[in-house]
C-alpha cells in the first residue's frame, strides 16, 4: 500500500511533504527526507506566493509551527 506525496527541493535535496497546514497568511510545510529518517524541517510559503519557500522567522514561530502540527494531528 503506497501514498502519494508532493516533494520540496531544498539545496538540491528532495524532501517529502508530510503535511501542509494553513495559518494566517501562510501555509506551514512539514518535511522529511526520504533518505535520512532523522532529517525533518518545517518551512512556510505565503498564500499568494506559493513557489517561494521561506524559513520560519524565529524560535517563537518554530514553536507555533510545532503546536499547529499537534492541533492538526487528530
Amino acid at each position: 500500500m503506497t501514498k502519494e506525496l508532493e516533494t520540496v527541493e531544498i539545496k538540491d535535496k528532495e524532501y517529502l511533504l508530510l503535511r501542509k497546514i494553513e495559518h494566517d497568511n501562510f501555509f506551514y510545510l512539514y518535511l522529511a527526507s526520504e533518505e535520512n529518517s532523522n532529517d525533518f524541517i518545517i518551512k512556510k510559503i505565503k498564500k499568494e506566493e506559493t513557489n517561494k519557500l521561506l524559513p520560519l522567522d524565529n524560535e517563537i514561530e518554530f514553536q507555533l509551527a510545532c503546536t499547529l502540527m499537534l492541533q492538526n494531528n487528530n
Partner: protein, 211 residues
C-alpha cells in the same frame, strides 16, 4: 534513576538524541536557504509515511513541552530526560498499538482506525491511565471517545470522571508522573509487545492462520 539507564539503551538505535533532533529541525527550519515546492508527486509506502508522520509529531510535541516547561532554557536535564522517556514510550505505543489498527479507505483517499481492536488492546494494559494517555496523545479527544465507546468507560470525559480526575490536565500530569516514578522504559516496552503478541495470537487462533 533507572529510567535514565533504560533511556540510554533506547538511544542505541540512533546516534542522535531526541533533543538533538529537535535542535537540528529548529536550526534547519530557521535557516534561510533556497528551496521550492515542486509539482512532482512521489509514492512511498503507507507504513513509511505514518512512521515519518508519527516521528515529526513526536518531535513537535516534545519541543512544545520543553519550550512550555522552560526545560531547554534552564538546562533542566532531568526534566529533559523524563520528557525523552515519555516520547520514546509514545513512539513505541504508536508502533505497536495504534499503527497496526490503521486501514486505508476503499477509495484510498483516507484512513480509519479499528476502534474495537484498539479498545481491546487498551483494556489489556496494567494501568489504563497510561494506555488512555498515549492513545489520547496521538488520536486526540474525538477519536479517543470512539475507542472508549467499546469499553466500560463509554467516552473520554466519562473515563476522567470514573478515574477521579477533575480535568484532562490533571489526568495528563498525574499519568506522566506515574510513568516516570514507577516504571522503567524497558518494563513499559515489554508490556506493549506483550499486548501486541496477545492480540496477534488471538487473531491467529480465530482465523486458524497468520494475520
Amino acid at each position: 534513576m533507572d529510567i535514565l539507564k533504560s533511556n540510554e539503551v533506547n538511544m542505541e538505535n540512533s546516534d542522535k538524541t531526541i533533543v538533538k533532533l529537535i535542535e537540528e529541525m529548529r536550526k534547519k527550519s530557521l535557516l534561510k536557504e533556497d528551496g521550492k515546492l515542486k509539482t512532482r508527486i512521489t509514492s512511498i509506502k503507507k507504513s513509511t509515511y505514518y512512521r515519518y508522520l508519527s516521528k515529526i509529531v513526536g518531535i513537535c510535541a516534545l519541543s512544545a513541552t520543553l519550550y512550555a516547561s522552560g526545560a531547554l532554557a534552564s538546562h533542566n536535564l532531568e526534566k529533559i530526560q523524563d520528557d525523552i522517556s515519555i516520547y520514546h514510550l509514545s513512539e513505541k505505543f504508536y508502533e505497536t498499538i495504534i499503527n497496526p489498527e490503521i486501514s486505508i479507505t476503499s477509495n484510498k483517499e483516507g484512513y480509519y482506525y479499528d476502534y474495537l481492536s484498539l479498545a481491546d488492546k487498551i483494556e489489556k494494559f496494567t494501568d489504563i491511565d497510561e494506555a488512555v494517555y498515549f492513545l489520547n496523545f496521538y488520536l486526540g479527544d474525538t477519536q479517543t471517545d470512539k475507542v472508549l465507546e467499546y469499553t466500560e468507560y463509554k467516552n473520554f470525559s466519562h473515563f476522567l470522571k470514573l478515574q477521579n480526575y477533575e480535568s484532562k490536565k490533571e489526568f495528563q500530569n498525574n499519568t506522566v508522573n506515574k510513568i516516570i516514578a514507577h516504571d522503567t522504559i524497558a518494563d513499559k516496552e515489554e508490556e506493549l509487545y506483550r499486548i501486541q503478541n496477545e492480540v496477534d495470537e488471538n487473531i491467529d487462533k480465530s482465523k486458524g492462520g497468520k494475520r
